[in-house]
């Protein structure tokens, strides 16, 4: 029977495949992030120890307790000595620094770990060894163990890496081990690249206010968490008495590591987006099921007569049911099989939305929906549930004809088959599914429409500066204490840097600043302003040190006064340029030129305002008011972290490479955070918005396609069931126009009912994504109107095709069906 009707079977299997595949992938992601156990061996015996600390919420003034505090190294030492419930107690203390390998300098995060750290977490190195006991001593050999990712990153997975040297903050360390790929330190939003032994002797690290130890314990067998809590509370009380100035208010929490894992994964991912996406995908699966159902219903309607005849001929009902069930289950299983394959393949696409372990230090744009350490694989349980759902759908709807036979009597069914092929129950059930289909598609489209609307608004934001073809190199100078200790050294560096870069072909001009229009963070200072009312305290204003050509390079117009020149240096009068907004606030209706601003806590500097510029758009949550000062009039410390802006002729990767090379030729120890075009950086600030818009958009499009297929199917089905009727009507004088209209009217009716239901659904559903929307109200009328028109347009088109076929009916052909 299935083979007799291959088009139908293929269609059902395709719909099921897509539905099952997409839902399984997304369920797997959500499961991995929200419900997966922690990736360490025997994690049910592992606990994390956190200090609690009462504090007052600065915003509301309400008393609160922070619950995820680390402890100090000294505190960890005490816990280790005084507790008896743990088989082992280990800890890791964060290290941030610069790593210099043969070919690059890079910022990296690492951890100092206590003895037995790796064995407690069940990690054994794939190369080399873990630390030896003597290496934990204060003046032991400097050794380091690498994470798998960083071994690949720094040493190209060199199998002979053991014994190689790595420079950490200008000191040489020897690589003694490499950890396996699946060992991840999950307590950080960024990947941990290296591990060093923590000196535990009691003479160092005695500051109990220095709390950076993340402590993990393995419980002795037979010891419950409650027992561990009891003992740790006693110890905590004892420590509070012994060190009241640091520990008085501290409490303790013993948390199963799986719970801690869930907490961190939730914090590092974007659960709200994920659940939205999940809801979207479940809707798509629902639509898919509706489609399969309606196809099965349509088919069962055509088979009702066949079954009635068979039953009349004496076929046993059970046998009929068995045959129908086998067919439906076969369809569902095929869908499950292909869906599983699709899901497996689809997971690889997810890397787009997954965080990277390397390099982690790029700007906000590198943020992703899934934390870097979550390993996503197809979740057997999700796959099982999804397949079961499709089995159920197919089974239930596949059985309909057999069940309806038992209800209606055979006679009627047979004679109904004789007079006409019109089967009302199947038609109204099918119409209902199409209506639901349309309403779900409407909700999804509204969601996607709002997101797109918001995203377009973001794209349309005018930065009020010419950000095109501006390359930004964000640098960190190393060894500030020695090589760049005087301002003369620092200025000399920036002078040479600009000189070298200027020579790169394609470079027009260069400016150095401490912040760009794309910076989310910013420097501020407190300014005391003469004549400004609240000036006792000083006003907090964004303050950007810039070099001479900054405004020219970004094409920011100076509205009054002048720009900075090379004469604005440490020897001349301190000057400042302010922007329009600030001028309006500080000196409304006055000429700001010549006014004075004073800033600097230890050595106050009074600056004369020499210019006013137009505002530049910033993207963080802070006021747009701004002071610019000449970088030659700072002590040059800000130049340790310069943003070098380069206006170029064109956007070529060759330029980026050349600029990198020139920077390193001035000082090979420089850490180049990134070299990117400014507009790209601004766009990257909205990666999350872009990704969620894309995801929702794709699924809404899928829903739209499915819904239009649904309308098409329902209308085409209706037309095919009514060929005879249409023939009769034409013989009675109906013209093709009449037929076209009446079929279109049917499609339109379903669409309008669907839209009405969808409208209600959308008002509810868009509340959920409110926080993802930028400057768009969740009830944005334009979006609602456009989506309504789009959906009705598509629906009309989908019913137009069968309608036209109906209009072309040859009455002779139609009447002959009798």
């Amino acid at each position: 029977m299935l083979a007799k009707n291959p088009g139908f079977s293929v269609f059902v299997v395709i719909i099921l495949t897509v539905g099952i595949g997409a839902t399984t992938v997304m369920l797997s992601v959500v499961d991995a992030i929200m419900f997966r156990a922690c990736p360490y061996r025997d994690s049910e015996h592992l606990v994390c120890l956190y200090e609690t600390n009462p504090y007052v919420d600065p915003a509301t003034g309400a008393p609160k307790i922070s619950r995820w505090n680390f402890t100090s190294i000294a505190g960890f030492r005490d816990w280790r000595e005084q507790s008896h419930v743990f088989e082992r107690l280990v800890g890791a203390d964060q290290w941030n620094g610069m790593v210099r390998t043969i070919d690059r300098t890079e910022r990296c995060r690492g951890h100092f770990v206590s003895p037995e750290f790796f064995s407690v977490l069940g990690a054994s190195p794939i190369l080399g060894r873990t630390f030896l006991p003597e290496e934990y001593r204060q003046r032991g050999r400097r050794v380091v163990i690498l994470s798998h990712d960083h071994w690949r990153h720094w040493f190209a997975s060199d199998p002979n890496v053991i014994g190689e040297t790595l420079i950490l903050d200008r000191e040489a360390y020897t690589v003694v081990g490499v950890l396996p790929e699946d060992f991840q330190w999950i307590f950080q939003p960024i990947a941990c690249g290296l591990w060093m032994p923590m000196p535990l002797d009691t003479t160092t690290n005695t500051n109990r206010n220095n709390r950076g130890m993340n402590v993990i314990g393995r419980l002795k067998s037979g010891v419950s968490i409650a027992q561990a809590r009891m003992e740790m509370e006693l110890i905590t009380e004892r420590l509070a008495q012994a060190y009241p100035e640091t520990n008085a208010s501290r409490g303790i929490r013993v948390v199963p590591i799986d719970e801690a894992y869930a907490h961190y994964t939730g914090n590092f991912s974007k659960p709200q987006i994920l659940t939205t996406v999940l809801a979207v995908i479940v809707s798509v699966l629902l639509i898919a099921c509706f489609h399969v159902s309606s196809l099965l219903i349509a088919r069962s309607a055509t088979r009702e007569r066949e079954i009635a005849v068979r039953a009349a001929l004496g076929a046993h009902r059970l046998r009929l049911i068995r045959q129908l069930l086998t067919e439906s289950i076969l369809l569902a299983l095929l869908g499950g099989l292909f869906g599983g394959i699709l899901a497996y393949w689809g997971l690889s696409i997810l890397s787009i939305v997954k965080g990277q372990s390397i390099p982690w230090y790029l700007g906000p744009g590198s943020e992703r929906l899934i934390p870097w350490f979550v390993n996503i694989h197809i979740d057997a349980r999700s796959f099982f549930y999804v397949t079961a759902l499709s089995l159920l759908t197919c089974g239930a709807f596949g059985l309909l004809p057999a069940l309806s036979i038992s209800k209606t009597n055979l006679n009627r069914s047979l004679s109904a088959g004789r007079t006409s092929g019109y089967v009302p129950w199947s038609h109204s059930l099918r119409s209902m599914l199409v209506v639901l289909d349309i309403s779900i598609a409407f909700v999804l489209l509204i969601g996607a429409g709002l997101m797109i609307n918001g995203y377009v608004r973001i794209l349309r934001i005018d930065p009020k500066a010419d950000t095109e073809n501006v390359l930004v190199a964000t640098l960190e100078l190393q060894g500030g204490e020695e090589r760049y200790s005087t301002s003369a050294q620092r200025f000399e560096f920036s002078r040479r840097l600009m000189e070298r870069i200027q020579k790169v072909p394609g470079v027009q001009s260069i400016a150095i600043a401490n912040g760009t229009p794309a910076s989310m963070g910013y420097n501020w200072d407190k300014f005391i302003v003469e004549g400004f009312s609240s000036s006792r305290e000083g006003v907090k204003i964004r303050c950007t040190p810039i070099s001479r050509d900054y405004f020219r390079l970004l094409r920011i117009p100076v509205l009054r006064g002048r720009q900075f020149t090379e004469h604005d240096n440490s020897a001349s009068t301190p000057v400042a340029i302010i922007n329009e907004s600030l001028a309006k606030r500080l000196w409304p209706n006055q000429n700001p030129l010549g006014k004075c601003l004073t800033h600097g806590a230890s050595e106050p500097v009074t600056r004369e305002v020499v210019g006013v510029t137009r505002d530049v758009r910033h993207f963080g949550d802070y006021p747009n008011e701004e002071v610019y000062i000449p970088c030659l009039q700072t002590n040059g410390f800000t130049m340790l972290y310069p943003d070098v802006m380069i206006r170029t002729d064109a956007r070529t990767t060759g330029l980026t490479v050349a600029v990198r090379r020139e920077i390193l030729s001035v000082d090979p120890d420089i850490f180049i955070r990134q070299v990117t075009f400014l507009d790209r950086q601004i766009a990257d600030l909205f990666t999350t918005e872009r990704l969620s818009t894309l995801l929702l958009g794709v699924f809404a499009a899928a829903a739209l396609v499915l819904a239009s297929v649904g309308i098409y199917g329902a209308t085409a089905y209706m037309v095919s069931r009514r060929t005879h009727e249409i023939g009769v009507r034409m013989a009675l004088g109906a013209r093709s126009g009449d037929v076209l209209k009446s079929v279109l009217r049917q499609g339109l009716k379903l669409t309008l009912i669907g839209l009405a239901i969808g409208l209600v659904g959308a008002f509810v559903a868009t509340r959920i994504i409110r926080s993802l929307l930028h400057n768009v109200s969740p009830t944005d009328p334009l979006t609602f109107i456009c989506v309504s028109f789009l959906l009705s347009g598509v629906a009309l088109l989908a019913s137009y095709i069968p309608a036209r076929r109906a209009a072309k009916t040859d009455p002779m052909e139609a009447l002959r069906y009798e």
């Binding site: 007079t419 019109y422 009675l732 004088g733 109906a734 002779m812 009447l815 009798e818």
Partner: protein, 232 residues
């Protein structure tokens, strides 16, 4: 009014062409009442469909008043059908999803008859056929004879110039059959041209001309008077 010349109709079957109508040449003037007779499979229904312009796949020349039907496109033929014809189908062809009332209304709705007028015409016709009591029933709730009555009523409701009736009395008992025939006769007297198919010589006698068909060929034409007496 109707002028058929050498009408041929063939079907393309596995065995080759089968001709179901051959060299039909026939003139029917306006206001005539003609009966087609002949054994089952002779091609009577086929010929009615051609005259009614539902079928446009045939050879020969067909002139309806001033229209050369054979030169017209199928769309235009259907437009002519709407203008002239009321059809009574052999197998009723009632619309199952509509009530009796709505079935009668359908032809009027396709001819842009206004609402109030439409209702009065439908009620009038229901009354004439004595099926007022059935107006809200669906065809499946009627007996075969009642369905046939509705079928005839629907054919005449839009006052067509030409009524093509394919065995309009096949399912009626004799009293009803007679009533239908009298109604057709009355319409004929008012100027409607009628072509009917019947197997009954009694009903054939209501018409002026009887054309015999056999295996697709015209097999002579008689007047009712030439029929055997016992049937009258």
């Amino acid at each position: 009014m109707i002028k058929l010349q050498n009408i041929q109709k063939r079907y393309n079957t596995k065995a080759g062409f089968t001709y179901v109508l051959q060299q039909i040449t026939l003139d029917i003037a306006e206001g005539e009442f003609v009966t087609l007779m002949g054994p089952s499979g002779a091609g009577k229904t086929t010929l009615l469909n051609i005259i009614g312009m539902l079928d446009s796949d045939w050879e020969g020349q067909y002139t309806l008043d001033d229209n050369s039907v054979h030169t017209l496109k199928p769309r235009q033929r259907l437009a002519l059908n709407k203008q002239y014809v009321g059809f009574v189908f052999q197998n009723f062809n009632l619309l199952d999803s509509l009530t009796v009332y709505e079935n009668l209304e359908a032809p009027l709705s396709y001819r842009n008859v206004k609402g109030a007028e439409r209702a009065s015409i439908v009620c009038d016709t229901l009354d004439r056929f004595g099926i007022v009591g059935k107006k809200d029933l669906f065809p499946s709730q009627l007996s075969g004879g009642q369905q046939q009555l509705v079928g005839v009523a629907r054919a005449v409701v839009a006052s067509p110039k030409l009524i093509l009736a394919d065995e309009p009395t096949g399912n009626l008992h004799s009293a009803q059959g007679q009533e239908v025939m009298e109604l057709l006769t009355k319409l004929n007297q008012q100027g409607t041209t009628i072509i009917q198919v019947t197997h009954s010589e009694k009903y054939a006698a209501y018409s002026r001309r009887i054309i015999n068909l056999k295996d697709g060929w015209m097999d002579g034409e008689v007047t009712p008077r030439q029929l055997p007496r016992k049937d009258r």
